[in-house]
Symmetry: C2
Subunit: 450 residues, 2 copies
């Protein structure tokens, strides 16, 4: 039996996704339209295929993974569960530390788990093109890969400053055949307006979303794909937690605490939702979302209806939010710079089922380097947030002299983030925190829905 | 049973390395010293520990892998054997294509397989520091990782032009705690001489080797590590082929042809040597080393005694060589730019047991992109040479309407080589070939040994 790396055969890949909606303690707060009425499936048809809309609102607990999606997932799944024995030794902790490594996908993170499903359902619906946005490049790479696998053209609006600073993420998307457009662009009204106001506009994720959605809404052959936040994305990620459960069974262990980085919530949903039934059945499992102190949505945000994007094109969702006008500082964990959070994660957090913790930037890189020196793998800056929290849990176990089983998601490798590590070693990284009264400002623009 | 990805449990990691020396049809041609007499183990003690020197010259067929080395290998081994079903479909070939994927190591290639063994034996011998050189960065990264795992300080002399062009490979080495020095440097006489002649000297692999060897030879606490060419390096890589054999047994298939990129020979030895016994027993297996047309050591070189480095510090070895003065053009497959080749690979090629083929640069990138679009993984430029040859074999099988089982080593991913893919897409890559009489020149400086 493996002690370092617990593997599953491909025959053990989950056959179904787990949908948490029917198991929520209270019904999910519905998405609202601009008319402040619950959105209808019809209103989403301009940008999503029928199967995705159905999944977004489904009350079925288990949804079968289509065979072609499973075939695509086989390229990297099931992913390994590692026992971090060298890290345990380095920390001299009585805790057992496990991590589920999602960097084994060709794009280097967990994001392709949803990208292949989205590409499949769009292809099935007769769609030939998809648009999306990308900041750090993880999601854009994943949809580029998935589009190539299912024969869809993919256009990625990449935040201009990232387009220039991360040329190799762009090369990766092009290698998989996608077209990458720096945003803001002159392709869309949103882009043209932004450029007319400021020809030097460096772009933002909110603006890139607007461009991608505007193009998809305006073209019959083109749909849109989002990499986090929405229910169907979290649904597709539940293969992670289901596999982890099987892997723990194989070694006769089970987690006391589960940690995942939290931006839009796809990591949190992916690893934690499949363990909720055990918790509901009385098992003592803590589940902790880890976010940056610079963008402390769950730990310091407000639980309210807000827009999913910064310009107000999306439905209005009940979630923890810092306000859709909130502009987080330019930390390197680009994937965690989101003003809001998944409705499902927000609701479970509000009900005390999930916990959250915020960690500062420098400490996450310190943890990333410790991890790399112990286990070899260099974590993506987003993933280093979970590493930080796992190390803190392990050190606490040491202080208390208590055994404990820690599980975290190492959501991706840092091969395209080495410039951030350079800045860490050069002492150039900053921590960000906010005085008590600094976080309310963007909340004044919340839409008025109870 | 898996059809896409054949995995081994860590209990199936080989317990021994396979040493091909006792199975050579004729005795190995001995290394010669500057006095033109066979080198003695004593003369190697200035830079290598006893266990490595013993392995370099051993006539034992099986050499046990020490438990601490196996513990280190568990971080990424056994590596997966993939069936490239999507590539087969894209090529519409009756051939079955398998690849052994070595990019799963933290450094992203097969190189750590030997680095951890070298670090272990040096630590065991009371050595505290190792020096080495790196061009493309794969070997330097691997020794940095291994040094960190076994508590050795590592100094890497990195060819200056690579140091500037591949800053992220440098960051990776620093993340694992190594010191990276651009070469030529003022640390060594070799470096100072080069800089005195030309302060703008961009460096070369030969010069970086000289610096690393000079420093190791001059310090009692410091040894030197090489990433290819030598017998012990090929020995350590035989875990690759041994695992592949077990993986083929699991699916009830076996290779008709085995392909690997060939620079110094560590990939070729690693995957092919463990299959030689089957070939000797009468099984019809072709084994083909794949090299660049720009550095066609096996296909167009001379079989003769020559120096392993460009300045004549190493022993003189009988091998295929283009002459130690040969300067290959700056192709992106930096790991294949070597004037010579492993003595063992050279001898087996000379005796007709191994074959060789040379492929041009643009065709390797074309193959790399096809592979990335079919299977997701973006190959390193070195690895793309084997991909090219595998695709050619599969297309030939299609033309002949014949089934065939193809195995190749995908020795690494291309995450740190995306600039090369950019240049391919921009149409900026060149092919290199040599007229009939262009390759003899550097051979005039061969040392005079029969």
């Amino acid at each position: 039996m493996s002690e370092h790396k617990i593997l599953l055969d491909e025959s053990e890949l989950p056959t179904h996704w787990y949908n948490v909606i029917p198991d929520l303690p209270t019904p999910m707060a519905p998405y609202m339209g601009p008319d402040k009425q619950p959105v209808t499936p019809e209103s989403m048809q301009a940008i999503f295929p029928p199967a995705i809309i159905e999944q977004e609102m489904s009350d079925q607990r288990w949804i079968e993974i289509p065979e072609p999606v499973r075939e695509a997932l086989y390229l990297w799944r099931p992913s390994p569960l590692y026992r971090a024995k060298r890290l345990e030794k380095m920390l001299d902790t009585p805790a057992r530390i496990y991590f589920k490594y999602e960097g084994v996908s060709p794009a280097g993170s967990h994001k392709p788990n949803s990208a292949v499903a989205q590409a499949y359902y769009n292809k099935q619906a007769g769609i030939h093109r998809m648009t999306t946005e990308t900041g750090a490049g993880q999601w854009g790479s994943s949809l580029a890969l998935a589009g190539q696998m299912f024969g869809l053209d993919v256009r990625v609006y990449m935040v201009d400053v990232s387009y220039r600073q991360k040329p190799f993420r762009r090369s990766m998307m092009e290698t998989w055949g996608a077209e990458v457009i720096p945003s803001p662009s002159r392709n869309t009204e949103a882009g043209r307006n932004a450029l007319d106001k400021d020809p030097e506009n460096p772009g933002s994720l909110g603006l890139a979303i607007s461009e991608a959605v505007e193009e998809a809404a305006g073209r019959k052959d083109t749909n849109y794909g989002l990499g986090s936040v929405l229910n169907h994305v979290l649904l597709h990620q539940t293969v992670i937690g289901q596999e982890a459960k099987k892997q723990f069974e194989k070694v006769g262990d089970s987690p006391d605490v589960i940690l995942a980085p939290c931006g839009g919530g796809s990591n949190v949903g992916g690893i934690m939702f499949p363990f909720l039934a055990d918790k509901a059945a009385g098992k003592d499992i803590r589940m902790v979302a880890v976010e940056p102190t610079s963008c402390p949505t769950l730990t310091r945000g407000h639980y309210a209806y807000d827009y999913g994007d910064s310009v107000g094109l999306t439905p209005i969702m009940k979630m923890y939010t810092l306000g859709h006008d909130f502009m987080p500082p330019g930390i390197h964990a680009g994937g965690l710079r989101y003003h809001g959070d998944s409705v499902l994660v927000s609701q479970l957090y509000h009900e005390g089922i999930l916990e959250a913790v915020a960690v500062p930037q420098v400490a996450t890189f310190e943890a990333g380097v410790m991890f790399a020196r112990a286990q070899g793998i260099i974590p993506a800056p987003e993933s280093a947030h979970a590493v930080r929290a796992a190390i803190d849990e392990a050190l606490q176990a040491k202080e208390e002299g208590k055994e404990k089983t820690i599980l975290f998601t190492l959501s991706g490798h840092g091969h395209f983030d080495m410039a951030a590590y350079d800045r860490y070693f050069a002492g150039e990284l900053e921590d960000f925190d906010y005085p008590e009264d600094a976080l309310g400002k963007a909340l004044r623009t919340l839409p008025d829905i109870e």
